[in-house]
């Protein structure tokens, strides 16, 4: 019987990167505790894709495979996770802190009588207890938390835990959990996929623009750089409020929290509320014509110049360097 269970999220029968990160981190915890591990996958027609988790340390994968589970349903998925956790005798349950994971963890917690430590950015084992570290006040503080219930649920922030694949094999065990219509509270009618660029919360590189861009007609400069780098496009609240950019691009305390490998802030002053959403990025590049702009206090590399001059040049030279 395994004691650590990790839920790996699928969208369109593809794993999210945060699922690999969660599986790998949870495996690491199981190893440190010397207990068994199983991953859990939910969906429809998922048996072959489930095997992929072998490359992230999972030797055993439980798959709940039903046509009715093709799209996300928080009530049905949570019921399955709770049932499997009980059946497996799991005392630790990990989920990615993705939109899906955040939608499931509280329900799983109520069902299995567990406390939930959400959005952890580090995990440790102290005296046999898992301690999670999580940001509060939009990253202006960090707290260490311990879950005091018998079963403990943790969600892990995407892009923080590393997940390099190493070849491994997983045995996939199909298990069914009886479900009725009443288990499907919200029904997904349609999924609208934004074409092209990755979401800022998942992108490895984010290029963001602020009021320094002067108007929505200049955001192609941001988009072109993002596209050369294969990155996502972000924005400050000032430009979202002005209607230049959609609000799902907003980075900051009342927008999205991002932790990419590289964040490029263009024409953004670096107000505390903006920094709150991006200061955990691994490398920060800032382009701002005011050398005293607060963004330079967190930037690894800064150019105190004009975005209209620097951005096109940067994009053009990167195109050459990266052979695009």
């Amino acid at each position: 019987m395994s004691k650590v269970l990790a839920f790996a999220e699928l969208r369109d029968n593809k794993f999210k990167k945060s699922s690999f990160e969660t599986v790998k981190a949870a495996c690491g915890i199981a190893d440190r505790l010397g207990v068994e591990f199983a991953a859990l996958v939910i969906g429809s027609g998922i048996e072959s894709v489930a095997k992929e988790l072998g490359n992230y340390g999972a030797a055993r994968v439980v798959a709940v495979d039903e046509a009715s589970l093709a799209t996300h349903s928080n009530t049905a998925y949570a019921k399955i996770i709770a049932e499997i956790a009980k059946k497996e005798g799991a005392s630790l349950v990990f989920l990615p802190a993705s939109q899906m994971g955040k939608d499931l963890a509280p329900r799983v917690g109520v069902k299995v009588g567990a406390g939930v430590a959400s959005d952890c950015i580090a995990l440790d084992v102290v005296d046999g207890n898992v301690v999670g570290t999580r940001p509060v006040y939009a990253g202006k503080g960090l707290i260490d938390v311990r879950v005091t219930t018998a079963i403990k649920v943790f969600t892990l922030r995407p892009n923080v835990f590393t997940a390099k694949p190493e070849s491994g094999t997983a045995t996939v065990e199909k298990v069914s959990v009886p479900l009725t219509d009443t288990d499907f509270g919200c029904v997904v009618r349609e999924v609208k996929v934004a074409e092209g660029r990755p979401d800022v919360t998942e992108a490895d590189i984010v290029v963001s623009g602020g009021r320094g861009l002067k108007g929505p007609e200049h955001f192609h400069l941001i988009e072109e750089l993002a596209d050369v780098l294969g990155g996502g496009v972000g924005a400050s609240r000032a430009v979202v409020d002005a209607g230049w950019r959609p609000h799902d691009e907003q980075v900051g305390q009342t927008g999205k929290t991002v932790s990419p490998s590289m964040y490029v802030a263009c024409g953004i002053s670096g107000a505390v509320q903006h920094l709150a959403g991006m200061s955990s990025s691994k490398y920060i590049v800032a382009i701002n014509k005011d050398k005293d702009a607060p963004i330079f206090q967190v930037a690894d590399y800064g150019i105190a110049g004009d975005v209209f001059e620097v951005l096109p040049e940067l994009t053009a030279q990167l195109k050459k360097t990266l052979g695009k």
Binding site: P106, D119, K140, C186, I284, G302, I303
Partner: protein, 248 residues
Amino acid sequence: MKVAVCINHVPDTETKIKVSSDGVSIDKAGVNFMLSPYDEVAIEEGLKIKEKFKGEVTALSLGGDSHKETLRKALAMGVDKAVLLKDEGVRDSFGVAAGLAAELKSLSPDIILFGKQSIDYDGAQVGTLVAEMLGMPSAAVVVKMDVEDGKVFCEREIEGGHEVVETKLPAAFLAQKGLNEPRYPSLKGIMAAKNKPIEEKPAVAAEIRVETTAMKKPVPKSAGKILGTDKSVVPELIRLLHEEAKVI
């Protein structure tokens, strides 16, 4: 239509965090508190639903006396009733949800609105916990909501897109920015709010399930170098990104 909105009272976004002497929470001295921004969106949605379907909007907040300030703001925006579930103590998300769920059970609203998260502990848990405790469906991170005869269609944000979901009522919805543009309280609203009562009752007790053992400040990122002031430094930037940072 009976609507309930759960709202939280949180430190202002400008707040600089100082760890208090207990080592597990912030020093509240000199900190300004405000209505959590997503909860403001939730209130607005509640008022819009009432304008369309008639009925009543009740705002609930669980916390100490200071939460009255936030309830007053909700009254000024136009909610009909305000309830303070009083507890000056420390609660985790589960404890807050348990307190709210107990009160909501007797209130039995058709629609319960929450913010997608409070901007203090950023837990993003309470709304979904309450929905599960009450055995009702929920949709999180909602950016569009259409209510029609006992059903709600809404759009919720997911990574790289939106999900359109349908649910029956009663149900809970967790508001995301962009769902609407919250109104400013009118002067008349502010004056009227002063005379509306805030009902106070003790919050039901709850166990702690997640314990904070330490709070610290993140190690501040040290300022890096300003490479130059024009496009002539672009090659140097690319070299550093490639050789030093190894991000490209």
